[in-house]
Subunit: 283 residues, 2 copies
Amino acid sequence: MSEVRYWINGAPGDCLRPDERVVQYGDGLFETLQVSDGVADYLDFHLQRLQAGCRRLLLSFDDWQGLQAELQAHAHECGRGVIKLILGRAAGQRGYRFGSDQAATRIISTQALPELPPENGVQGVRVRLCGLRLAAQPALAGIKHLNRLEQVMARAEWHQGYEEGLMLDCDGRLIEGTMSNLFLVRDGTLFTPRLDTCGVAGVMRSVLIELAGARAIEVRRQSLRAADLASAQEVFVCNSLIGIWPVIAVDEQYGYSVGTVTRTLQQALSQDDRTRAGHWYND
Amino acid sequence: MSEVRYWINGAPGDCLRPDERVVQYGDGLFETLQVSDGVADYLDFHLQRLQAGCRRLLLSFDDWQGLQAELQAHAHECGRGVIKLILGRAAGQRGYRFGSDQAATRIISTQALPELPPENGVQGVRVRLCGLRLAAQPALAGIKHLNRLEQVMARAEWHQGYEEGLMLDCDGRLIEGTMSNLFLVRDGTLFTPRLDTCGVAGVMRSVLIELAGARAIEVRRQSLRAADLASAQEVFVCNSLIGIWPVIAVDEQYGYSVGTVTRTLQQALSQDDRTRAGHWYND
């Protein structure tokens, strides 16, 4: 599978009307699912987040069984790769206003897995602190909506030398990476930033919170600051495609070894049943 | 002209590829231009804002003369109506990262003028204060980018009874309307919120700042709070399509008459040369 294939509202094709509200306003949500062995990994978590996003955006969509079957069929056909789903509010009248019965548009694409350096998960990666600060918007925090200019502009801050950039909010709190969630380990306890004012609550973040809990590793979702990087013994970033990347350096300022909690979770993740149900944490 | 017509990168058609970054991330800008008598009103101001937006988003586009000619040709053909231009970052590699030479995609549509109640400009309108607060993001403030979920969600707060909703930021400062900019008049001086942390710096706002200045009406762009609505003698909202709508009530809390400064500016606007050059104020 070398190229990207598209389906719009179930029909194969790559022709989207410009009056769709995803084009006009970024009015919608997305999910990026890893497909392995013909199944969509952690589909239950992804659908939970999507449902939460629909409630938040007042997006009318209720055929969850149909969507689940559609994603499973694509995963089966794709075998191994990535499914990206965009669920947007369909075109309607002009302007920001939308109708309570306004339909949703489904855009599904399948493509090959990205070529990620396999050593990133083993040796770890260098990351940087981004200059761009995330704005605090509780109304949109946690969900994976399509207004992603902050991530785009943060990712434009560097070209090489770092595999990811960490982002602070406007109050100086640590929130996440541009494409990942962040965990710190201190004295055997796992910490991850609360995402109730900004950030995307990742599926892999929730999976790891559960895997840690099942291994009696205490997990705290709480407000963290850049200074907490100084007292951490282990740091890692995660998402659905990269899994867990240990962080070995933040800029030239902080350095870490790949520690036992990180390795324990990598091991747990590699052995996890990726078709299982679970709980998506929306802080 | 009853229907919407589209051109993508100069070619007639309404088929947009889903991998365009406007679809994926809202990675782009837009302008809504009124066309009257075959010309695009205040085109110079719109292009200034678009150029500022390109600089801010690091969007590679430099054929400004070509774009100006294209918009003028559409205005000529359209005669009377609305041109909407979306300038987005074209598709590229997967993920938030983009190349320094990544092209821009132009989506142009023309359609009829919206059917706005003509009495709104004469008798004035009732507006409300929205519950949703605008997040502070200086990196994106002022420009007209495509990440508009805040406006979408604010506009969803009411269905009837109000022609516009006013928005505060997270610190309680008055910023703008969901689709308009805001002006207050106190003791003959015109006040409009500074837009350096959030909000869209409207073309009509800049036009009115200039028209006021030319009539020796003092204009201050400054931080304003909801409480400033109590001491205002006149309030109005404006944009490129509605012109000036006097505000006669904010919720049940504040009431205003349509005053002389508002009428003076409406008169000045109706007599203004809409093909003139000017200065777009980016606070």
